[in-house]
């Protein structure tokens, strides 16, 4: 077997999570209008202010155009051909035993036995299945220290003043085309509130999963850490296999007050389409954190391996003096996948610091772009940024691009940018082979070495999951 063939076999593994769970869903008719939005809002028994928030966003969205600047290509999306609401039939759940066994089996197939995992690993899992939360664990324990961790719908009912105060405060309803769409039609998501001085005693985790064919999913996540609070939040994503493209446009907002610390980690493995580029998720996500207080810190870590198209720039607005923003990313694309991802670090306060480490891996015929903005505002005395963007190519039909935007308006700032491109070459693989190591293990070892700086940022069990995931994407262990 030639090395090229071996490489192609390695990167052409079928999607492991391709199955549909049959759970009765309550699906809204296709199409988007003010009536659809009123329907969603009514179904969720929302207060008037939230309906207004949605309608304002919708009206704004109508005036906006889909962004054309990303380095991705896809057919025009018919927003009237999407169902904007899909919820499992409501059941009253008192314990995990009452969770639909089919759902539990789904999690098992995904390798996420949430009950055991939650208990063993001390992780509270707020499960998002399609768009409505169906199970929440560990809520009691968190409540004892004053932490609120629930679905955003529940938060709207139980803590409306908090949601109203912070929703849209980091990503305004009209921020961009997809954020506006999300603001208009979001159905559920997670809400997390860490009160003043509380260090969250466990890692908070949400497993997202898109399950109903053709239902766009629009999650909304809001995390607020008050003065001196800290939290580590894990988001894991897998989706079953479908032939029609699914739109996913989430919004995540993080708010860190004085001396607060938020760490947000994602492992994303949504269906990427088949090897011919048919199907797959369109992932158009707006994630942004506001370091509102002094000495606050927000750290994004992402491992992006799925989706047909990824359009995502987890960002930090460094408003508070001495605040810190971090972005650690691995983006792997294969077959016909397209990723245009990166970050924005906006330095406003004095002595603000940011670090960007981006690792792009392209295989097959995929296209992988890093796009990042570092902006140093006029008042950001002593601001510093360090960016490192590395690309790795596997095979000769893929592409990698780096689009750094650097805007410095204060001459006391220091900005560094480093970039490298490398290729897993025949000679490297032969070197491994000559030492008895087969191509699969060699590729896995090279990739893990390449991604090391990012994996080190992930919580332990996530790092293991991420390593496995890259393995699945690039090795023959799927069988």
């Amino acid at each position: 077997m030639s090395t090229t063939t071996a490489l192609e076999n390695l990167v052409n593994q079928p999607y492991k999570h391709g199955f549909v769970t049959e759970i009765e869903s309550d699906v809204a008719p296709k199409g988007l209008s003010e009536d659809t939005i009123r329907l969603i809002s009514a179904k969720k028994k929302e207060p008037q202010w939230l309906l207004e928030f949605r309608l304002n966003a919708y009206r704004h969205w109508l005036t906006m155009a889909e962004p054309a600047w990303p380095n991705v290509k896809y057919p025009k999306i018919d927003f009237q051909n999407i169902s904007y609401y899909s919820a499992p039939k409501p059941k009253k759940l008192k314990s995990m035993d009452e969770v639909d066994p089919e759902l539990l089996r789904t999690f098992e197939k995904l390798g996420v036995p949430m009950n055991e995992r939650a208990a063993l690993a001390g992780v509270a899992v707020d499960v998002i299945f399609d768009s409505v939360s169906v199970a929440t664990t560990y809520k009691q324990k968190l409540a004892e220290v004053g932490i609120i961790f629930c679905s955003i719908s529940e938060a709207v009912r139980e803590h409306p003043e908090l949601v109203r105060k912070y929703l849209g405060s980091v990503v305004p309803a009209g921020d961009n085309f997809y954020a506006a769409l999300n603001s208009a039609v979001f159905t559920d998501g997670s809400f997390c509130f860490i009160p003043r001085g509380v260090k969250c005693p466990m890692e908070l985790s949400t497993y997202f999963r898109i399950n109903t064919q053709d239902s766009g999913q629009f999650e909304r996540t809001l995390i607020v850490a008050e003065e001196g609070a800290s939290v580590s939040y894990l988001e894991g994503c897998t989706a079953p296999k479908f032939d029609t493209n699914q739109l996913h446009a989430a919004v995540v907002e993080l708010v860190a007050l004085d001396n607060a610390d938020i760490k947000y980690s994602t492992v994303q493995n949504w269906y990427a389409g088949d090897e011919n580029g048919v199907g797959g998720i369109y992932n158009f996500v707006t994630k942004r954190g506001l370091c509102k207080g002094v000495n606050s810190k927000i750290s994004w870590t992402q491992v992006e391996t799925g989706s047909a198209i990824t359009w995502k720039y987890p960002s930090c607005i460094l408003l508070g003096d001495n605040s810190i923003g971090e972005f650690y990313s691995v983006a792997l694309t294969n077959h016909h996948q397209q990723a245009d991802t990166g970050t924005k670090m906006v330095h406003i306060g004095k002595n603000t610091r940011s670090t960007i480490v981006s690792k792009g891996i392209s295989a097959g015929r995929s296209n992988n772009s890093y796009r990042g903005l570092v902006r140093i505002g006029p008042k950001a005395e002593g601001a510093r940024n360090y960016s490192q963007c590395d690309s790795m190519l596997i095979g000769s039909k893929c592409g990698a691009n780096t689009f750094p935007y650097i805007q410095v308006h204060n001459n006391t700032a220091k900005v560094e940018h480093e970039a490298t491109t490398s290729k897993i070459g025949e000679d490297q693989l032969f070197y491994f082979q000559q030492r008895g190591i087969g191509n699969e293990e060699a590729v896995s070892m090279i990739i893990n070495g390449f991604c090391k700086e990012v994996f080190q940022q992930l919580p332990m069990e996530f790092a293991v999951e991420a390593t496995k995931l890259l393995g699945l994407k690039l090795e023959g262990s799927v069988g």
Binding site: Y431, Q433, Q434, R435, G436, I437, G438, I446, G449, F450
Partner: protein
């Protein structure tokens, strides 16, 4: 050490190979028995490195004729990693750099893979660390090098020592060392040569591919072969290397051409 009754480790018969469609090896014959040291010498472009890489199974080289037996079995039926596991070791002329992959992790994976195929115990990271540090002492290597990426930013001498360290770990039956002496200063050459000498056993063999006689002062060959135009055109004892050093290759090549004409 020549022992006519020793086991044949390698038998090369009429080996032909091409690179990008151009025939480089035009019929090589060579037999290596256990316990022997062979030196393959020859001018630039004679096919020495191609011979070494074709035996190890580099994908850029296509074997177009002849056969090669490793301990009586068809070598070309094996993939490159299977050849390595079966005991064929190639010391690279230009060891590749693998940024991000730690030397210790790489060495351990390689060692344990080969050990498990041979039905021997694998070592856990701590055991391996002790084991590899002992081997490194023999090659006068700084332990800090275990934490560096494989060959990444290594000097020429460090890369070559790393090759011999791998040979020491994997205990090959047949080690083919491709220009291991190039890029080494005298001190490094002595260290590397001593390392190789320490690994010679009655049941293994070494093929040294080299330009210069210099290395052969330290690793004394039983046979010296001269390659030219993709063939071995002359074979002699260690004194042949000295003669090549003083007279160059032309006389051997001329002599071969004349004999080819008369034959």
């Amino acid at each position: 050490m020549i022992n006519a009754n020793a086991k044949k480790l390698l038998e090369v018969r009429g080996l032909k190979a091409t690179v990008a469609g151009v025939e480089i090896l035009k019929g090589i014959n060579l037999t290596v028995r256990a316990g022997e040291v062979h030196a393959v010498m020859g001018p630039n472009g004679s096919g020495k490195s191609t011979f070494a890489k074709a035996l190890a199974g580099h994908p850029a080289y296509t074997v177009t004729g002849g056969e090669v037996l490793l301990e009586g079995k068809d070598l070309f039926a094996l993939s490159p990693e299977e050849r390595a596991r079966a005991g064929v070791f190639l010391g690279f002329q230009y060891p590749v750099e693998i940024p991000g992959v730690s030397n210790s992790g790489f060495l351990r994976l390689s060692y344990n893979t080969v050990q498990s195929v041979r039905g021997r115990d694998e070592l856990d990271p701590l055991e391996f660390d002790d084991f590899v540090r002992e081997k490194m002492k023999l090659l006068d290597m700084d332990p800090g090098f275990l934490d560096r990426s494989v060959n990444d930013g290594f000097s020429g001498g460090e890369k070559k020592r790393n090759e011999i360290l791998q040979m020491a770990l994997l205990e090959p039956k047949l080690a083919i060392l491709d220009e291991t002496d190039s890029g080494l200063d005298i001190d490094a050459l002595r260290v590397v040569a001593n390392g190789v000498n320490g690994l010679l056993k009655p049941d293994n063999a070494v093929v040294l591919v080299t330009h210069y006689q210099r290395l052969l002062n330290y690793i004394v060959p039983d046979y010296v072969h001269v390659m030219e135009g993709g063939r071995i055109i002359k074979t002699g004892g260690k004194e042949l290397a000295l003669e090549l050093e003083t007279r160059g290759y032309d006389w051997v090549v001329d002599g071969y051409k004349k004999s080819a004409v008369t034959a």
